[in-house]
Amino acid sequence: MNPNLKTTLKYLLLAAVFVYPLFSFANEYVLHVMVLIMIYMVLAMGLNIIPGFCGLLDLGYVGFYGIGAYTAGLLTIHFGLSFWVIVPLAALNGAIWGVLLGAPTLRLTGDYFAIVTFGFSELVVLFLTNEIWLTRGPLGLPGIDPVIIDFSWLSTLIHPQWDWYWEFIGPQPYFYLGLFLVALVYVIMGRMEDSRLGRAWFAIREDSIAASSCGVNLLTYKVIGFAISAAIGAVAGAFLARWTMFLSPDMFKFWESFLILCMVVLGGLGNFKGSLVGAAILIALGEVLRIILPALNLPTETRFLAYGMIMVLMMRFKPMGFFPAIATQSRKNPILIKLKKDLGSS
């Protein structure tokens, strides 16, 4: 395929996905799965900062996801705050915890840091489970309001008959909200990657000693990265809370951290565009298996048997992930573009 056609096709497909929910044949289940994929896209992009950009293994990302979700859920139930106020608050809360955890522990190297993050996420889940006065614990937090867009104050000013008040019902509005979030995080990630911040992270990942001799303050940059990553996770959590309208500590188990990490690795470490693909593949895989297995006359019980096997095989044949980081770094750099063209690589 020549590059032009490829680009056109890419945008066509993107447009098709974009308008899909508007058609009457749109399948709500497919939309639901797509929204789920988008939440994981945001999570995977956010997590990518830590192992991908800074080169540290983070096994506890789900902790921040849970903090964001419960922040949003509790603020909605007790104070009835609007989604648009909650998102920054959740992000802030996530970032604060990111700094609190990161500052003392980011000095640790290698897998010791991983295990601390893991311990942290388990502690978050235990807190959510046990502090029943605050979170209702294992009883779950039902009855969270959906997202509401309320411009009625403006519309009544313009025209008394108008009522610009929309409550999000069904997956279509969430689809677009999710798309907006993914786009937002995508743009932020892109800007960060090419900024001073991003370059400092890459320097730390490639050779922290060299980076430190060049005047990069290792701890500061790592903590900033950790805080941003945590904030993005918390935003995804806030979206989840207002979308599912029900929270329970079960939703933030250790397994989720793994799943998100798998998405990042599968997409390609350090390449946040790959994370999008990783998220889409792993979430879709579970659903595709749900449909395919009965068609092959296999019992439902084999779903995760196949899931595990496919994960192993994917890593076996794509150990670097689908898009290794090097392929996208500074794509706008003319020298690299020329070099790539000359080398004739895809």
Binding site: M1, K6, T7, L9, K10, L13, A16, V17, N27, E28, Y29, V30, H32, V33, L36, T129, N130, I132, G137, P138, L139, G140, P142, G143, I169, G170, P171, T244, M245, F246, L247, S248, D250, M251, K273, V277, A280, I281, A284, E287, V288, R290, I291, I292, P294, A295, P299, T300, E301, R303, F304, F322, F323, A327, S346
Partner: protein
């Protein structure tokens, strides 16, 4: 390369679309949403057994209006996230006229918004959480979610009264599982027990899947209780009974429906003796049909019936009766089920009669079983 992966992703989506479009309906389809993989798959299997038996019976009689019943088994691992996805899938597929599920209260709560919005009648065989009562109606005030099991609060209070009046124990140690079921049950029990003047000497918690309960039991042992209430499920319950025995705690143990599984006795061995439990279904008290069901169940699955299977059998029975009476239409099925609202027109299943109140809860008698000589038997004193 980017383009190729995009293509693959889109192809996968198309595949999902194509495969999820309904096949031409020669059958009536219902869905069963439960965990069939993951840590709680064993319970899901109980539900599966109950529904399978009912559906096979109906199909063997020629189905409903000549149409066979087909069950879609929907695995949700008892996870709220998966449950929400599964419910979206069920709601979208208009050929699925009703649901038996979910197994866990948290999964059920996460799934309900989808069912309510699309109008899918759903009968839960096992969810005992109190919060479900407030989430069972859609915006128009129609109840779509029903359950054929009593709530935690009823069961807990019943047990407290039984302990007080029949077992006549005074100092109770409470050991509860830290999940919605264990906490809901414990709170109801402790509340009532305190009203009745019982002395709760200690409350300890454990997490599901744990296998070492010695620390908590050691602590409870120090308070000299004469009764141990284990608010949880049988796999942990059996270990607790065994370990309490190992620590030399010779006390009466009692639990609730979560204990009603022969594996409790198998796992706990002699430590299971003198365990009392409340159950919604008592084989000895069961009516005519039930003995036949018990027989069939043993033959088909080669194990003893537990209350989950019995309730799932009844839940499927109510759903299929509604389909037979009202036709394979979601709204009509809902109306029919909602009209089962008094003892006069109750559904007579193997677990006694079932009728629903305004919010879809059922009012059922509870029975008491006990373990004697390695077997479950009806407790000598039943209680109204």
């Amino acid at each position: 390369m980017i383009g190729k992966t995009w293509l693959k992703a889109v192809m996968a989506c198309c595949l999902v679309l194509v495969l999820s479009t309904p096949a031409l309906a020669e059958t009536i389809r219902i869905a069963v949403a439960s965990p069939f993989t993951g840590a709680l798959a064993g319970y899901g299997d109980n539900v599966k057994a109950g529904v399978t038996l009912k559906v096979e019976e109906i199909n063997a009689q020629g189905g409903i209006d000549g149409k066979q019943i087909r069950v879609e088994w929907m695995d949700e691992q008892c996870e709220p996230r998966e449950a929400a996805t599964v419910s979206a899938r069920i709601a979208q597929n208009r050929n699925i006229v009703g649901v038996v599920g979910h197994l866990c209260s948290s999964a059920h709560l996460a799934a309900l918004p989808n069912y309510l919005r699309h109008g899918v009648p759903v009968i839960a065989p096992t969810t005992t959480a109190v919060a479900i009562s407030e989430q069972s109606k859609d915006r128009a005030g129609n109840t779509w979610a029903f359950r054929v099991v009593y709530r935690d609060d009823y069961q807990g209070e019943f047990l407290a009264e039984y302990v007080n009046e029949v077992l006549e124990l005074k100092n109770i140690a409470v050991f509860y599982e830290n999940n919605d079921y264990g906490i809901g049950l414990k709170n109801a029990f402790v509340g009532k027990a305190k009203d009745l003047g019982l002395n709760i000497v200690g409350e300890e918690a454990y997490v599901s899947g744990a296998s070492d309960f010695n620390p908590q039991l050691t602590r409870l042992r120090g308070r000299n209780p004469d009764g141990l209430f284990i608010s949880g499920y049988y796999p942990e319950g059996a270990l607790i009974a065994g370990q309490a025995d190992g620590l030399g705690m010779q006390v009466a143990k009692f639990g609730a429906d979560g204990f009603d599984n022969v594996d409790y006795i198998n796992l706990a061995g002699s430590a299971a003796e003198n365990t009392y439990l409340t159950v919604p279904f008592l084989a000895d008290a069961a009516e005519g049909d039930a003995q036949e069901f018990l027989q069939n169940f043993r033959e088909r699955f080669n194990r003893e019936v537990d209350w989950m299977s019995a309730n799932a059998y009844d839940a499927a029975g109510i759903l299929l009766e509604a389909i037979a009476e009202a036709g394979a239409d979601r709204a009509k099925i809902r109306e029919y089920i909602a009209s089962i609202n008094s003892p006069e027109n109750a559904y007579h299943g193997i677990a006694g009669m079932t009728y629903f109140n305004d919010v879809g809860d059922t009012l059922k008698p509870a029975f008491v079983k006990m373990v004697k000589d390695g077997e479950f038997v009806a407790a000598p004193v039943q209680f109204e």
